[in-house]
Amino acid sequence: MALATASGPSNATAPTFGVAGTRRWILPVATFGLLAIIAIAVNPNVPSWMDIGLQKWVRDRYMWTVQNSNSSWIFTGVFNPLSDAINWLVESVQWILRTLRWPGVLALFAAIGWMTAGMRAAVSGGLAMAGIAVLDVWEPAMVTLSIMVTAVGIALVIGIPVGIWTSRSDRAERIVRGFLDTAQVMPAFVYLIPVTIFFGIKYPPAVIATVIYAVPPAVRLTSLGLRSVPTVMNEVGESFGCTSWQQLLKVQLPMARKTILLGLNQVIMMAFGIVVIASLLGADDLGNLVLKGLQKNDVGAAFVPGLGIVLLAVALDRISTGERSTSTRPPLIKLPTVERRTGTLIALGSVVVAAAVAKLADITAIPDALAVDISGTINDAVGWVQDNLRKGVPIIGGTQAINDFLVTDVLEPLRKFLVWLPWLLVVVVVAGIAYLSKGWRLAVGCSICLLLIGTMGDIPGGADGRTHLWDLSMDTLSQVLVAIVISVAIALPLGVWAGRSDRAQQVMRPFLDTAQVMPQFVYLIPVLFLFGVGRGAGVVASVIYAIPPCIRLTGLGLREVPYTPREAAISFGATKRQELVKVQLPLAFRSIMLGINQTILMVLATVIIAALVGAGALGLVAYEGFTKPIQKIGQSAAAGLSIVFLAIVLDRITQAWGTSPEQQRRS
């Protein structure tokens, strides 16, 4: 054969096919088999000696902080001044917003929107704010806004320098990334517990919790933006003799501006999602009104502030989207172009004028004639829904029927089964799955996380007077698993559809975009509306919250499959179906797995929130720590930690599915 002299493989690591193929499995099978037998043989319930007394420890710490918050140096010297400073910042922002009055704030949103993204953003931002005024939730909305502005400010002050630092040092990047990854997996509520201990209630803990959540995207995108500056541009700077500072200010930051601005939008939307949740700490903001409505099972009362949250989210998103939107959409109105400086002056001037007019005319609140009270209408609608949609709908039977089916035929049997299983057997099975997914290290890590849940102790309640947190964790796990399965079952086909049809993509995109910026809280309202209270409602809320990222990532993954292999497949006579099954889906596999991983994180993030619509289990226990801290803070912390352990296990296992075998071998 001419030219059969091809050189050997460029990479010398030949796959080890069939080498000791069966022998490789003997050790793991034997190990897990033996462990499983041991697990079945020993006590099926978590033994009481495993309780490490965490609950009592947390409670004692909390009581100590309550008693010493005015005497210990750690409070008088560190936390209290910090709290005071944050309070002062939030109140200053509130003072500015009050001074501007609602016409001024409205003008401010429009002005920012106009300066960053043009007329369209100005109009939609202004309209959304006007909607808030009309709904008569202006005051609480301004409280929410002031907490958010303060938190975002602090997050940027921390995040941008850290981002610059990590972009310039690989070691810094490694160190910081560890923290960022952990911060991102944790459900927001988990931060709230320690934060409450140190910062009391109301604004400071809300701001701190929000900052913790908003710093990672700020760091990440600053670093990403700076690192993506082409090497040649850095060389240009160096060759002309830039100092390190000049390089940063004159070359890197300007070139990274777009990415960093995109980061700003993410920071704001992240922060907003948490601010709303932080209302549990007792700030009198929009989230708190929703919460009160939910607690009273009064959909109308929850709906109006919920709508306010939606409007505020839309307004914030539009005015912070920046240049991202301008290039893709035609201008709404062609305005005469003005110089940037003049434009800024005009925009700021109009804000001042609006505020001055408001002061002179003494406009403080929206005139009664304009205000709309829709809570009555909503409650009528709820009545109609309860009469007409919950039962007696042909075929699907109505939302109540779906709820009942979920609870009695799916959730309850699964929960009973998981609780019935010897607890160590669950650990062994999960470890086995982890081993198959990635290897021994993950198996050990997951086992440790699950064993740690066993050390969390038990709490009062349940059939036997005490319930171990393990059983509650299995309850939560059953809900989470069901929610994940339903979410993926709905989102994958939709994602595939969006990835293959431009029309489908166009139809879904506005929904996905809006869903992405909505705080989890908002989803509870329609769920409550349709499904009432209970575990079924909790699952549905998680599903609604978790579906959008899965659709988005699946669609994106399919679209990002390079065209060449697809074209090759078509040229060899692949049908549409074959192209999807044999080329697109395998090549988009990692992206789809990432979508499923995101789905799982989203579902876990709603565990506590779902408790607000009656999902119970760990979420309820964790939540009660906020309402009755003195009695329940210990068990709340234990439940919160259990959620984190579950989250880590599910996150890491599904992450392993998304990495290719080559990457695993390398790592």
Binding site: S10, G573, A574
Partner: protein
């Protein structure tokens, strides 16, 4: 004494394997109206400004004979990739007909089209288009898999084909473990595995290093002599075109500027554009002796030489004898003669 100048539009072959008539590709809204209209002749920018349409390929006629290697050469944006994709409707042509092995591809329904793609035509891509998640064997077997061949059968066939392209025993590797040249061998094997009548090459070697590229060209030459497939080969590299092509079409702005044998294109460029292209090509490398021979005299002769021998390859022969060489055709019939002066005049005029 040149052979008759081939038909400029390439439609000169009897009983062609590929037969293209009046093929157009226009991008943009209501593209059909541009076809054949006076606007189609507007400069690119003006046409786009006026109608929003861009003409990628216009009025292409083309016949490729069974077993012929037809090379389409042009710079980027000349429409050559569009042309090769229109042959199996990877890109839907705006107007015109394509017949492959007698089947009108442009009128074929979905099933017929799949049949053409699965059994009659295979394509080799510039960026290989291998499936990264599959082993080499499964990549090569891809076409067979789509046809519905069973696993054992297609793997065996694929392994044999891998051997044919010099990748014996590497079937379980993944594409990313291979060098670019090796990856393209896999691309070639994949195209051969379905045993098609026609192979289409879309700039298959332009992503490769010069040395590897040459090696791969040799591979194609070898395949041509061993398996006698009809090939359409797209390239932007003139030396590649001259090396591989039985006939070459030079493409510019979506249309054929010239079609002919390598010698015809080099000796008689159709216009300044082509002339510019072939200016640096050493004539003696492409011109066969039968293109410059003298009429057959009485002799005596210093020996016989085949008419398709390139001029540079007879330099050694004419240097060792004072006598002219007798030129014979494929059947062994004497058709003319060539002497030292004839050879030297070709070489001497090369730098013109």
């Amino acid at each position: 004494m040149l052979p008759a100048h081939g038909d400029l539009w390439g439609a000169s072959v009897t009983d062609p394997m590929i037969e293209v008539r009046g093929l157009w590709k226009v991008y943009g809204h209501r593209a059909e109206r541009i076809v054949g209209s006076p606007e189609a002749d507007l400069p690119r920018n003006e046409l786009e400004a006026r109608t929003g349409c861009v003409v990628a390929m216009r009025e292409v006629d083309l016949d490729v004979a069974q077993g012929e290697v037809f090379v389409v050469m042009g710079l980027s944006g000349s429409g050559k990739s569009t042309l090769v994709r229109c042959l199996t409707r990877l890109i839907e042509p705006t107007a015109g007909t394509v017949r492959i092995g007698g089947v009108d591809v442009t009128k074929a329904d979905d099933q017929q089209l799949l049949d053409v793609r699965r059994h009659k035509v295979s394509m080799v891509f510039q960026h290989f288009g291998l499936l990264p998640h599959r082993s080499l064997v499964d990549n090569v077997a891809f076409g067979l898999e789509l046809q519905g061949a069973d696993k054992g059968q297609r793997r065996e066939l694929a392994a044999n084909t891998l051997e044919l392209v010099g990748l014996r025993g590497m079937g379980s590797y993944k594409p990313h473990q291979l060098s670019g040249g090796q990856q393209q061998r896999v691309g070639l094997a994949r195209a051969l595995a379905t045993n098609p009548d026609i192979l289409l090459f879309d700039e298959p070697f332009s992503a490769l290093d010069p040395l590897i590229r040459r090696e791969m060209q040799d591979e194609v030459i070898r395949l041509r002599s061993e398996v006698r497939k009809t090939m359409v080969f797209i390239t932007h590299d003139l030396s590649e075109a001259l090396r591989l092509g039985d006939r070459i079409a030079i493409m510019r702005d979506g249309r054929f500027v010239q079609v002919g044998t390598p010698a015809e294109v080099v000796m008689n460029p159709a216009d300044d554009y082509v002339r510019n292209f072939v200016r640096d090509v050493p004539r003696s490398h492409v011109v066969p002796v039968d293109a410059i021979m003298d009429p057959l005299g009485d002799g005596p002769f210093g020996g016989d030489i085949s008419g398709d021998t390139k001029v540079r390859d007879v330099v050694g022969r004419v240097a060792t004898t004072e006598l002219p060489l007798r030129v014979i055709d494929g059947a062994g019939t004497p058709i003319g003669s060539i002497d030292r002066m004839g050879v030297l005049s070709v070489i001497a005029n090369e730098d013109l």
